[in-house]
Amino acid sequence: MGKTYQKPESLSDQHTHYCPGCTHGVIHRLIAEVIDELGFRGRCVGIAPVGCAVLAYNYFTFDFQEAAHGRAPAMATGIKRVRPDLIVFTYQGDGDLASIGMGEIIHAANRGEKFTSIFVNNAVYGMTGGQMAPTTMPGQHTTTSPFGRNVEDVGMPIKMAELLAALQTPAFITRQTVIKPKYIIKAKKAIKRAFTYQLENQCFSFVELVSTCPTNWGMTPAEAVEWTENTLLGYYQLGEYKTPESISGGEDAK
C-alpha cells in the first residue's frame, strides 16, 4: 500500500507566502486535489488575480496566466472561446471580483461562459494592507474605514453569490467556507461539482468561499475562525444558490 495522503500532483513543492491562519493554502490544495481526481491537469489553465493570490501560479503545476486587477473573467472568456478544449478557472478575491472586476464577472456569468470562478471572500483587501472591500461587514474596522464600515455612506456589503444567481444563464452558484474540516469537505465537493459541470460543457460555475484574513482583521487565527463563523456566515449564508438541476426543474434555488 502506498501513502494514503500525499501532495497532489497539481500542487508544486514551493512553500506559500500566505500568512498564518490564511485560508488560501487550503483552497489551493482543494483545487489541486480536484484537478488530480478529475485528471485534467494537462489541459488546465488557471488565472491568477491581483491580490494576495497574485503569485498563485507558483504553487500549481499547470499553465497559468496572470490577470490585471479584476479582468480575470474577460481573460478566461478569451481563452475558453478560442480553446474550448482547455479547462479554465479564475481565482479571485473580493476586491478583485466584487469591486473593480464587477463588470467582467457579471457579463461573463450572464453570457454563460464555460469556465469556473473560485471567489475567495475575506471581507477585506488583503495584499494592499487591509482596506475596506465591497464585502466588508457593517461596522468592520479597516485601514480605510477606521470608524467601522458606515453603511449610510457606502452601502451594505455585496453578496456575490446571490447577485449572480439572479442571472438566468449561469449553471452553478454556491457559497461555502473552509474554516473548519466539516466545511472543507463540503467546499471540496462544491469545487469538484463546479469543474465537473465545466467538463460537461455546462455554462458558468461559481464557488464563493468565505475565508479569513487574521493579519488584516487584527486577530489570531483562532479568533478569525470564530469571527467568520459568528459574523460572516450570518450574513454570507452557505448553500447552493443555483444548480443545473434547479434551472431545468424550473424551481428557484435556495
Binding site: 491537469r41 494537462g42 489541459r43 488546465c44 489553465v45 488565472i47 491568477a48 497574485v54 503569485l55 501560479y57 500549481f60 503545476t61 499547470f62 499553465d63 497559468f64 496566466q65 496572470e66 490577470a67 490585471a68 479582468r71 474577460a74 481573460m75 478566461a76 472568456t77 478569451g78 481563452i79 475558453k80 472561446r81 478560442v82 480553446r83 478544449d85 482547455l86 463588470g103 467582467e104 457579471i106 457579463h107
Partner: protein, 356 residues
Amino acid sequence: MGKKVLMKGNEAIGEAAIRAGCLNYFAYPITPQSEVAEYLSHRLPEVGGVFLQAESEVAVSYMIFGAAGAGARVFTTSSSPGISLMSEGLSYLAGAQLPAVFVNIMRGGPGLGGILPSQADYFQATKGGGHGDYHLLVMAPASVQEAAEMVMRAFPLAEKYRNPVIILGDGLIGQMMEPVEFPDYLKTEPTKKDEWATNGMQFRNSNKPNLVKSLFLDPNQLNENNLILKAKYERMKTEDTLFEPYNIDSPYQVLIVSYGTMSRVCKTAIDHLKENKFEVGMIRPQTLFPFPEVAVFKAASKETCKAVISIELSMGQMVEDVQRCVQGLRPVHWYGECGGNVPTPEKVMEVVKSLV
C-alpha cells in the same frame, strides 16, 4: 491577388484579418469603426471563427490577452475613446510579451470629441497610452488597399516580436470605399508558441507549465524584462521601419512629413505645386513607431531644402518626432486641423508656399 472589389475600409480590415489566418475577434461598437464588427459578425461564423461582442473595451483587451496568451491569433478594432479604455490591456500585453493586433480608426478628441477623421492619437499610439516602458509597433495606412495589406502584415509582425501591433487609421480610412485587391491568404502559423503559450501541457507534450505574466517583483528581473522589451524596439527600428518617399528626387524647397489620409491630400498639393514649378518633397511614414528617423533626417539634409513641415490631423504631435529627427538642421513647422475637417489640397498649397 484576386479581383479588385469595392469595399469600405472597415470591411476590408475585417476581411484582411481572416485572410491573415486570424479567426478570433472580440470588440465593442464605436463610431466610426462599427462596420468591422458588423462585417465579422456574419463573416466569422462562415469560416468557423470566434466573434464576440464584449461588455466594454476594457473587457475586450483582456479577452484579447487571454486568447493571445493561449496561443491564438486574435485581433480587435476600435476608435479613440475605446482605445483609451484598452490601453491598460495594451500595457499588460506588451509586458507579458503577447502578440495581438489592434486597429484604431481614429476620431477627434479629447473626451468624446467628435466622430470625424482625426490623427490625434499619435502620442497615445507611439509613446505609450498605457503605463510603463513599452511601445506598440504602429502602422499607418493611407488607403483601403494599404489598410488591408497592413492588417495582413501585422499578424506576422506581432508574432515576430511577441508584441502588440496597432494599425492607426483615421475615420476616412474606415469609412471610405476604394477598390481593394486582397493579397493571398497567409500561410504562416505562429511559431514557437509552445515555448510560452498557456495552450495546455498535454497538447504540447510537456510537463513544464507555461506562465503568461507581467509581474516581476524582483527589481533585477523587472529591469531584465524591460531590457528584453527595449531590445525588441531597437530591432523594430532596424528591421521594420516603413515609409514612402514622394517627389524626393526633385530639387524640393520644402519637405512635408505626413501620414494616412492627410498624406494623400499633401500628394495632390505637391502635384499641383509641381505644375507651378514649386517643388515639394514628402516622406510618408508607414510605420509611426518605429519612425523613419534616418529617412526624415536625410531628406531634410538635402541642399535645396529650406524648411520642413509636419502636416497632421492633430495639434502638433508628430511634429515632435520630426523635430527630433531633423536635429535643428532646418526650421521645422507644423500645420494641422483637428475638428474633423480634412484640409483641402488648396489649403496645404497655401501653407507650404508661405514657408519660403
